[in-house]
């Protein structure tokens, strides 16, 4: 089946396109991109105005799909439905499931569930250590063969410098980046919020930014030592960004990501609008304005490579308890694009081209997965964005099984009009006014 999307604004940094182009899809591939493409009798023509942006499918490289073992929070099916509703054609999913994804069995299970759901592509990330216990390496070659694209013990840091060193060396044989959740657990202690004025006045135990940056410096030093590839997950502290800049300046293979909530929110949310709202509790925590502003600066100046959501669904029973007892994490798949437009692109901090690099080009490059560009012959994974769409975030209407988001009710400018995976339309936003 051939479909011709005419007249949209194509933003495809890898191929240097940023303007009005027609996109011809044939089956599951991109057949041609050009101006004023002709349509033969067998081609469905769809008029897309230049108010819409067609870009390579967005890829979220940090998502917790919770299956196997925690299906009350999310499943691969509901998670990938949330992903496509958020404009993501692919997600990389974390291994802290139950059982942990430290073997081919779990990897293959996740891939099978993804195929059954047939929505977003799923790239499993395998564990660094067996059971994520931080002692022995997991069977990394097996994980690679089964389809894993990276390794992490996320949920936790890679436990020791020795293990991180071995992981970097070993994983490099298989071209797998090691993604670290940077956190010195002795400094974190039983902290539940950013160590600062807000937590102190609310009587919440604090986690200093240095708990994260210390580990980032460790990982970057080891990347230098080994020549291995490290990716710093969910940065929150300005000191961590300093570590990344230091490492990049010295030529270490280090990349990093930030979540939308860390460049939008601060620890002031702990006190208002709703004091002790557990939908404001995540790890790493929301930090001070100086940290949030540092993240904005890093996104603008290129120090930060990726925006990834750390989508962490939790059931409302689990979040409906006292703040210090609630699990860490908020959802993110269905709010990311709107937050990016409203807080980055529209205020002029970053260009649309840069946004696509952060959400598609760079994740594809780091994970070495297809996508990140709209090249002829490549799989037709496209996201159609509506930069000026008026969006009101509604947790109740989200496709994720869990509704743990602090953004419920927020009005934002910019959203997703449609998501196309392998030439199939897997999501259409009724409110965006695009007929596919």
């Amino acid at each position: 089946m051939k479909r011709l999307l005419k007249g949209g604004r194509v933003v495809d940094p890898v191929n240097g396109r940023n303007g009005v182009f027609d996109v011809l899809m044939d089956g599951d591939r991109i057949a041609r991109i050009g101006r004023d493409l002709p349509a033969d009798a067998g081609t469905t023509v769809i008029e897309v105005s230049s108010a819409f942006v067609l870009c390579p499918g967005l890829i979220d490289m940090h998502v917790h799909l919770r299956e196997p073992g925690q299906e009350h929070k999310e499943t691969v099916a509901t998670g990938t439905a949330a992903a496509v509703a958020g404009g993501f054609t692919a997600v990389a999913c974390m291994p802290n499931t139950d059982p942990v994804n430290d073997n081919a069995g779990v990897t293959e299970y996740v891939l099978r569930k993804a195929a059954e759901a047939n929505l977003a592509r799923v790239y499993p990330i395998g564990a660094v250590s067996r059971g994520q216990q931080g002692e022995q390496l997991a069977d990394i070659a097996e994980l690679k063969l089964a389809g894993c694209v990276a390794l992490t013990d996320d949920g936790r840091p890679v436990a020791t410098a020795m293990l991180m060193r071995r992981a970097l060396e070993y994983a490099s044989m298989f071209d797998l980046p090691v993604i670290d959740h940077c956190e010195d657990q002795t400094l974190k202690g039983d902290g539940v919020a950013h160590e600062g004025y807000q937590a102190a006045t609310l009587g919440l135990r604090g986690i200093p930014g240095q708990a994260e940056s210390i580990m980032a410096f460790r990982d970057i030093s080891l990347a230098e030592l080994t020549g291995g590839v490290v990716h710093i997950a969910h940065m929150s502290a300005r000191q961590t960004l300093d570590a990344v800049r230091y490492g990049k300046a010295r030529g270490a293979y280090v990349t990093c990501e930030v979540t939308p909530h860390h460049f939008v929110l601060t620890d002031e949310m702990l006190a208002a609008p709703e004091p002790y709202d557990t939908n404001v509790k995540m790890n790493p925590p929301l930090r001070e304005a100086a940290d949030r502003d540092a993240m904005l600066q890093g996104l603008a100046d290129g120090s930060i490579d990726v925006i990834a959501t750390d989508h962490a669904p939790h059931h409302y029973d689990e979040k409906g308890v006292e703040f210090d007892r609630a699990p860490f994490g908020i959802t993110g798949l269905e709010t990311a694009v709107s937050l990016c437009f409203d807080r980055l692109v529209h205020p002029g901090s970053i260009s649309l081209v840069r946004l696509i690099e952060l959400l598609s080009v760079n994740p594809a490059r780091i994970l070495r997965v297809p996508g990140g560009s709209l090249s002829e012959g490549a799989p037709a994974d496209l996201t159609i964005l509506a930069p000026d769409l008026a969006v009101t975030v509604s947790a109740a209407r989200m496709r994720s099984k869990s509704k743990n988001t602090p953004f419920d009710g927020w009005t934002l400018r910019g959203g997703v009009a449609a998501t196309i995976v392998g030439g199939r339309t897997v999501y259409v936003n009724e409110d965006a006014g695009l007929r596919l």
Binding site: G196, A200, L202, G203, Y276, V321, E322, D324
Partner: protein, 306 residues
């Protein structure tokens, strides 16, 4: 008045003054032969204490009974909390029996805010985690006012485990609101970040903090803090931060010594100081009943006084 008393941070200067002034009338009731007025007759008050308590619970119960309320103490140790029932469920189930007020003490900061969102009943915070203990700060303020005639302009030193103390937080808020010069003192490991932004002077020297003080308030040091490497030993803590008679002598001659209780004698405070002539520790306890009566009375709508 407001629906709940959750935190000193919610109260204005005028509300605080109203509570303290009402306490005078309530104290008078405690001095009568028949210590009872019908103010809260027919009202049900539930005391829900998730943490052990001697003073606070007893004084709330006495306060409630003096106002003729029907009081219930839920002993968490024999409740279905032991079967894993959540705080939210416990609250909703109690709320279904339509109490007028719930007095909650809980180890988690913010627990009372949670109850206030879930329940129509009026919620009184009897201590939530490390956050606040508003009635303690109110009775401390009342005691200071009683002995000194005022709060504004006094030098008040608060010494001890500042980081984990809800009594500190409530007192700092209240005393600075009422115009006192507050000094907060403790080991650096136990100073909460940002305390210097709360209008207090922060010091790690007890001698400096108590110098010329009108009021010295000692906070309990939990011995478990040695596990977190907050301080090396009880012996060193007492030597460096303990209130001995010699240290107390640096304060003004008419200083009053306070402690919210329970005391660790020989840890934060020497026994001779705790039992000495400057100590008003037991006055605090006595005033606690009257202050809590005032709070209950005002939250109930300040209905017909005796």
């Amino acid at each position: 008045m407001r629906k709940d008393l959750l935190a000193i941070s919610d109260l204005s200067r005028d509300e605080i003054t109203l509570i303290l002034d009402t306490t005078d009338a309530m104290r008078e009731i405690g001095e009568r032969p028949i210590k009872k007025v019908p103010t809260l007759r027919g009202k049900t008050v539930v005391n829900l204490f998730y943490e052990p308590s001697t003073r606070t619970r007893t004084s709330f119960e006495i306060a409630e009974k003096r106002l003729s309320a029907d009081t219930l103490n839920i002993a968490v140790s024999t409740s279905s909390v032991q079967k894993g029932e959540t705080l939210a469920d416990t609250a909703m189930n109690i709320e279904a029996m339509a109490p007028d007020m719930i007095v909650l003490r809980h180890p988690s900061s913010g627990a009372c805010h949670m109850l206030a969102r879930l329940c129509r009943s009026r919620i009184i915070n009897a201590g939530d985690g490390m956050h606040e203990h508003p009635t303690q700060a109110l009775l401390d303020a009342y005691t200071i006012r009683e002995h000194k005639g005022r709060i504004a302009g006094l030098k008040i030193a608060i010494v001890g485990d500042l980081l984990h103390s809800r009594v500190l937080r409530s007192n700092v808020l209240l005393l600075t609101k009422q115009g006192a010069e507050v000094w907060a003192c403790g080991p650096r490991t136990l100073v909460p970040p940002g305390l210097d932004r709360c209008g207090v002077k922060v010091s790690t020297s007890v001698d400096e903090a108590v110098e010329g003080a009108d009021v010295i308030m000692m906070l309990r040091i939990q011995q478990e803090r040695m596990q977190g490497a907050f301080f090396p030993s009880v012996r060193e803590y007492f030597n460096t931060f303990g209130l001995t008679a010699a240290r107390a002598a640096r304060a003004r001659p008419d200083v009053i010594i306070m402690h919210p209780g329970p005391m660790n004698r020989g840890v934060e405070i020497a026994s001779d100081v705790a039992d000495g002539p400057y100590s008003v520790i037991l006055d605090q306890v006595a005033n606690g009943v009257a202050v809590r009566m005032a709070v209950l009375y005002l939250l109930a709508g300040g209905a017909d006084a005796d």
